[in-house]
Amino acid sequence: MTSRKAGLGRGLEALIPIHGETTSSRPPGQTSANGSSMFRLINPDGTVRDRLPVTLEEMKSLYADMVEARVYDDKSMAMQRQGRLATYAPFRGQEAAQIGAAAALRPGDWVSGTYRDAALNWKAGYPWKLLILGRTGDERGGQVPEGVNVMPPSITVGGHMIHAVGLAWAERLKGTDRIALTSFGDGATSEGDFHEAMNFAAVYETPTVFLCQNNGWAISYPVEEQTRSETIADKALAYGMPGVRVDGNDVIAVLVAVREAAERAREGEGPSLVEAVTYRLGPHTTADDPGRYRKDDEVAAWEELDPLVRVRRLLERSGAWTESWQQSLETEASNRIEEAVAWAESVPEPEPDDMFKRMFAEPTPNLVEQEREATGRG
């Protein structure tokens, strides 16, 4: 690769400090055997640990994306409470991990994520309106536009990671330089399919990026119990794959780490694992009561590390954040999302025959018959 933006990619070591305060940073592609280090560029107070590999405009734009994602998340929570959406899985607190990762991708790259990855999927091209339509309980929400290579959010935990191996493999066979990113949680790393996916990717050297959003909990089960490996990143070693642990609440650290992994993949150097350490500030889903299993002060401590606040502080320090800018971001995001909601809610009820029509390219005689019965046209 020759045309690489200055400051991004391999030259990373130059960009990051040698000594950190609470964590030390290390270049992606190197696994710590003890897992104690974590790659971070922006501190929680908004100070930076070194020159950032983005311009101020890019930084502002990433911030705007995170704000928009949060507006969507808040709106969805509210709508679910009003009975306008089916169960909703909020990503509050994980905006940096998702927006940062998606920002590292190129158009046409594949994304295979979960029920909690709306921000990631949106940034990768999945329109809000279709995400919302999906959350109202409508299969048509899964019909992303042509050219947007985002898989529908995986509801089952585990199965979707290996898809990113096949997707990436196909792109290599077709001779494109597209890659596939799969996003999953800390809990998902316990599923056998995580293992098979990591192993296949390593064995066939597919251009796949594994992004684990380690948000501390799998519903009520804490990550400390989920696994005895010191970090999720350490698991990469079992596959001879690079693994890196980043501060998942630092949008730039995530961007850099995922871009590094993506570049490796694009250049035929195979898959990598990126562990983004973050936290789910909200409930698992709207059906969950986190008070049953976790302490308020744990949540409060993580509220302090809010990924949006961190960037806002950084921008404040550079004089690039104002209250009115914030308000205009929120208003504009809100307008766009309201518009998407209005659109989704205006989509006519599914017809009873729809479900028969979308089973196969051509409905089987059996389905044609059942469709007639169902629609009373038989």
């Binding site: 089916a86 009873p352 059942q370």
Partner: protein, 325 residues
């Protein structure tokens, strides 16, 4: 004797089993701290400790495989799979190991264990949360499959399943969890695995169903009865082994049958029931056995669920057409 709904009745059975048999332990995702995503195991971890009510990593094959080992070595594990639609990663463990160890070792090793799985649609859930694929377990030799539709049966069947020397899949109808309450004895009692329950006697037509679809079936029976039809309603309760004699006896009397299930039609359990009826009671049949089932489509999302789930109307219409013949 308390007024309990199905979820509470299951909780009470687990409580009874944990307190009366040291070998019993519960394991599954979120069964401990959270008390289960449906609160069915609520309070049990506090009462019996984290060693006996065990939260597990997110790994269904691991849960079933570990429970299997526990059972072989003398424990009585009750494993929970959060939703039937999440049981497929454990299908190999269930089919190739849990169901077979007695056969493979000519009774030397056995796997007395229970696998609880909430199942069924109607709650507007996300993908895979609404499955009702009981047939893919009923088809597997070596398993028993039960499903209650009342609180009393829930407690009695679950205690029977835990007592059973062989593996039992215990399906829990999600949309009935809190639908009805009834007096449930708090003494230790079991409901036999095997026999169906004649819920309503009648002589014109037999309605056969189980689990969650019992609600619509009961309603349909009510409507038919009001219209003067003498309806017999069978709640199968045990899907494997099937109470063929009970089904056939009813249809020999009525000559007409409608089977109701929410799984897809093709190769669903209704097929086995209809096949059995025609095998053993063909000459009593006045009209073909009807099946009112889910369609041969993926279980749809919230907005289309009502187009998918067998409705009271469809059941009544099928019965009426059977009665017209």
């Amino acid at each position: 004797m308390a007024e309990l709904n199905i979820a509470q009745a299951i909780n009470s059975a687990l409580d009874t089993a944990l307190s009366s048999d040291d070998r019993v332990l519960i394991l599954g995702e979120d069964v401990g701290r959270a008390g289960g995503v449906f609160r069915v195991t609520d309070g049990l971890r506090n009462r019996y400790g984290a060693e006996r009510v065990v939260d597990t990593p997110v790994a269904e094959s691991g849960i079933i495989g570990a429970a299997f080992g526990l059972a072989v070595a003398g424990m009585r594990p009750v494993a929970e799979i959060q939703f039937l639609g999440f049981s497929y990663p454990a299908y190999d463990q269930i089919v190739n190991h849990v169901a077979r160890i007695r056969n493979r070792t000519n009774h030397r090793h056995t796997s007395p264990m229970v696998i609880r799985m909430p199942y069924g649609g109607g709650i507007g859930a996300a993908e895979h949360h609404s499955e009702s694929t009981e047939a893919v377990y009923v088809h597997i030799p070596g398993l028993k499959v039960v499903v209650p539709s009342t609180p009393k049966d829930a407690r009695g069947l679950l205690l029977a399943a835990i007592e059973d020397p062989d593996p039992v899949i215990f399906l829990e109808p999600i949309r009935l969890y809190r639908a009805v309450k009834e007096h449930v004895p708090d003494i230790y009692y079991t409901v036999d695995i095997g026999p169906l329950r004649v819920e309503r006697e009648g002589s014109d037509i037999t309605l056969v169903s189980w689990g969650a679809m019992m609600r619509e079936t009961r309603q349909a029976a009510g409507i038919l009865a009001e219209a003067g039809v003498s309806v017999e309603v069978l709640d199968l309760r045990t899907l494997s082994p099937l109470d063929r004699d009970g089904i056939v006896a009813s249809v020999e009397k009525t000559g007409r049958a409608v089977i109701v299930h929410e799984a897809p039609l093709t190769a669903g359990l209704g097929a086995e029931i209809a096949a059995t009826i025609q095998e053993r009671a063909l000459y009593s049949l006045k009209t073909p056995v009807r099946r009112v089932t889910g369609w041969d489509t993926v279980f749809p999302l919230k907005r289309s669920e009502h187009h998918y789930l067998p409705s009271v109307d469809r059941i009544v219409a099928a019965a009426e057409s059977a009665l017209e013949d």
